[in-house]
């Protein structure tokens, strides 16, 4: 029996008259990389922002690591966000801080702060080495290329060693070679950290490389669900639109 780490049931979210999510349902199992595929503006980013608590949803439920997030107070969110990482589409690196400070920042609120400074330094260097960018430790985000920034943003997420990682369009804006490198890195992270991931994307190559399972978000609902090859062989015209 697979253990579910995210359970979403009948999730509804609207912005005024724009009903983005309509009774959306989804499960993420432990150790799995789940891709959510959908057109731009279909509500993919809204979905993961609801999961991490950046957006409040209108109806339905989200069970995150066995806990109903709707009843969470700030303290419970702080604790949960130690276990759930989020990689932003725009990377969201703090541009007034060096790479080292960017990685130290999430630790400041959590138990890792209690570690000795040399242990923290070791953890930062190890995480940077895992994304292949140890030499950038004292650089500013503005000095880095798009692909490097994405890796540093991923390192900042990984430094807390989360059980679940939410990727918001991880390859958007990158050239095909760098996009493939990032996709492979996501796969490597899954293996090395034994994490479960939700990958929001409309980049078919990225989804093909990274996902164990794909959920298609169309018209605010889970329209199709299966492995990449299963969906690729589907004859449904709405599914085919993405694969042709």
């Amino acid at each position: 029996m697979k253990e579910s780490v995210i359970e979403i049931r009948n999730l509804c979210k609207s912005f005024g008259n724009n009903h983005v999510l309509k009774n959306f349902e989804m499960d993420l199992y432990r150790g799995e990389n789940l891709a959510v595929l959908g057109k731009s503006g279909s509500g993919k980013s809204v979905l993961i922002k609801c999961i991490i608590g950046l957006f409040e949803f209108d109806a339905g439920s989200i069970i995150l690591l066995g806990k109903d997030i709707q009843k969470f107070n700030n303290e419970q969110w702080d604790h949960m966000r130690r276990r759930v990482g989020f990689l932003f589409q725009s990377n969201a690196l703090y541009d007034s801080m060096t790479v080292r400070e960017n990685l130290e920042f999430p630790m400041r609120r959590h138990e890792i702060k209690k570690k000795k400074s040399n242990e923290m330094e070791g953890l930062i260097r190890e995480t940077l080495a895992n994304v292949g960018l140890e030499h950038t430790i004292d650089m500013m985000p503005a000095e880095l290329s798009g692909g490097m920034r994405k890796r540093i943003a991923l390192a900042r997420t990984l430094v807390l060693q989360p059980e679940i990682i939410l990727y918001d369009e991880p390859t958007t804006g990158l050239d095909p070679v760098t996009a493939r490198e990032i996709s492979n890195l996501i796969l490597e992270v899954q293996r090395k950290y034994n994490s479960s991931s939700v990958i929001i994307s409309h980049d078919m190559n990225c989804i093909n490389i990274t996902s164990n399972r794909v959920v298609m978000l169309i018209d605010g609902k889970c329209y199709a669900n299966g492995t990449y090859s299963e969906l690729n062989s589907s004859q449904d015209p709405k599914v085919r639109d993405f694969f042709d």
Partner: protein, 256 residues
Amino acid sequence: MKDVFNINKTLEEVGGISRFAARFFREGFKPRYEFGELIRQCFWVGYKSLSLVGITAFIMGLVLTIQSRPTLIEFGAESMLPNMVGISLVREISPVITALICAGKIGSGMGAELGSMRVTEQIDAMEVSGTNPFKYLIVTRILATTLMLPVLVNLSNAISLYGGYLGVNIRGSISWALYWSQVFNALSYSDLVPAIVKTVFFGFAIGLVGCYKGYYSNKGTEGVGRSANSAVVVASLLVFIVDLIAVQITDLLGLT
């Protein structure tokens, strides 16, 4: 006229700023305290504004003295020049001009910085990494302006009086000791204290508006530009409103 002054929008704005201020008092005094960031912001607001405030204050004192001189000569009161300059600068001109300069420099800086952090999702990133962005970014900035503006105004008072000394000596002649003794004889605590107290509110208003405009910036670079611009406009207006209220209160308390 409707486009120029939309009453609904204005009331919405006033309501928004009031709620933001209420949140500051609700969250600002609860732990966890971000002392490191507060010190960094105090350095940025205070030390980094010092040269601008200093130069403006010196020129302000110099110009006020030169321009007041002919009128005082007309009334045969040239000897009262240091007294008049001292009172005008300390009570009104130095606090208000310094606050306006800070509204321009600090208010726009905060509006633009927080606005671009909002647009590039850095504020959201802070939230998901377990840091309350309101406490870390907003409370520290508002506290920094509230604490630093009185310090800057005190320095501005002193530097503008040096400018005044030079202004008196360009056309006339007065000794260093006589100038300062006349200035200090003219000033009393009832001049100084209300002027300094109101700068605490100026600082609070500048920080509050700059942070509010940046924190709720619309998406896109245009939104960031607008945040910076309206932060300056609204903060400057608030400085005058606070000044008006402060004058009424000091008048009612008989401190004029």
